[in-house]
Amino acid sequence: MQYTRNVEALKEGTVIDHIPAGQGLKILRLFQLVETGERVTVGLNLQSRHMGSKDVVKVENIALTEEQANELALFAPKATVNVISNFEVVKKHKLELPEEIEGVFACPNSNCISHKEPVMSFFYVRTVKNDTKMKCKYCEKVFSKDIVAEVR
């Protein structure tokens, strides 16, 4: 059987794999990967043995931090994040939900003071019975993670 690579191999950078299909572009946006100016390769609706279909994002010359990887856990908890150096995987991030998350998502409450002031958004993350909720530090409103992750 002929083996074909979905996306070209990476020399230096980060591969975010096993992203649920449809979430790949959101991840580009949230982490502002396009704005880095580095070469970004995106695969959408790729075949996956385990997931049916998936998205993959590869960014050259950027190593995703532990903190960013954990933020990813909010909406792509099964994603894998591999940092590559000289074609080798040098770090595999294990995704864990962060307790706090700063500056990634805007508060869904349009009357929240955080929108127009010189501060970064800030949420406390809490999971109760498999339901992940985020509470804005400023307006104190509690949202399901899906609502927060939709904003922007």
């Binding site: 409450n109 009357n111 003071i113 010189p118 501060v119 400023y138 307006c139 104190e140």
Partner: protein, 306 residues
């Protein structure tokens, strides 16, 4: 040792420990029994109301002056630099450099928390949009303690608009530290929000959802009434809903002797005027207690010991 609220920001009820709530209540009682005129002597407190308010502003300003302090400030955000486009962060940075504390009300949620991050002096939240209004909760706690002699193991009913009423949310959160039982009496569209009920569940606090005001009255120590806002409904719907949540004097015939009726005011017609003359009416005393609770808060924040 300094009291635990000394130089602290007062932003939100969930920030308080049970001991801190008790300290404010106990201090308010002492200041009501024996007024002090020196606790804020030489202090200047800013009263920054970016949105108009009658009771909260006047009772804060009365409290400051009765304790011997001086007030500067504004009663309406329209005439401030905010109108020129200045951020709240900058406004507060400047005002806090002039004063010993900042009392503020703002139409946006989170304004007080944000202000506390830029202020050099303690910020006291006098209401931030639909979010928190901690001094109201503290005066409510003081009123409950004063009228019942305790805060623990009471039965309380909250009646009316439990969905949008920030007063009932904060008071429920505070009383959940004192093992009280709650009755929530509201139409389905104005029911207590899920997140409050979930917090109670997590803490193992029992509550009952009830639809009949009359059936609940004989079972409680405190009947906390709230106003149902006309603008949330069409006229016919409003009349139908509101009619079920009006307190009439004869409904109090089977109330416990110690039962008190509270209301954050202003009332419109959810409490009949005839109730005012019953021994159960306590809402005017509750409003008056606003001055003592706010005095306690200011005194504790600005003095190591009171």
């Amino acid at each position: 040792m300094a009291n635990p609220l000394y130089r602290k920001h007062i932003i939100s009820i969930p920030d308080f420990t049970r001991e801190e709530l008790e300290l404010v209540v106990e201090t308010a009682g002492r200041l009501k029994a024996a007024p002090r005129h020196d606790l804020l002597a030489g202090k200047v407190v800013a009263s920054c109301f970016f949105e108009p308010s009658t009771r909260t502003r006047l009772s804060f300003e009365t409290s400051i002056q009765r304790l011997g302090g001086t007030v500067i400030g504004f009663a309406d955000g329209a005439n401030t630099s905010a109108k020129k486009g200045e951020t709240l962060a900058d406004t507060i940075r400047i005002i806090s450099s002039y004063t010993d504390a900042v009392v503020m009300r703002h139409p946006q949620e989170g304004a007080a928390r944000l202000a506390s991050e830029f202020s050099a002096v303690p910020v006291i939240n006098g209401g931030d949009g639909a979010n928190q209004h901690p001094s109201q909760t503290l005066l409510d706690l003081f009123t409950i303690k004063e009228s019942q002699g305790r805060l623990e193991n009471l039965a309380l009913a909250f009646v009316g608009d439990l969905k949008y009423g920030r007063t009932v949310h904060s008071l429920t959160q505070a009383l959940s530290l004192f093992n009280c039982h709650f009755y929530f009496v509201a139409p389905e569209v104005l029911a207590m929000p899920d997140y409050i009920c979930e917090e109670l569940d997590e803490r193992g606090i029992s509550y009952t959802l009830a639809s009949s005001l009359e059936e609940v009255i004989p079972q409680v120590d405190i009947l906390y009434m709230t106003r149902i806002q006309r603008e949330r409904f069409d006229e016919a719907e409003f009349k139908q809903i509101q009619g079920q949540y009006i307190l009439k004097a004869e409904m109090l015939n089977h109330a416990r002797p110690n039962m008190k009726v509270m209301h954050p005011l202003p009332r419109v017609d959810e409490i009949e005027v005839a109730v005012d003359d019953t021994p159960h009416a306590y809402y005017f005393e509750q409003a008056r207690n606003g001055v003592f609770a706010r005095q306690a808060l200011l005194a504790l924040v600005l003095n190591e010991t009171v």
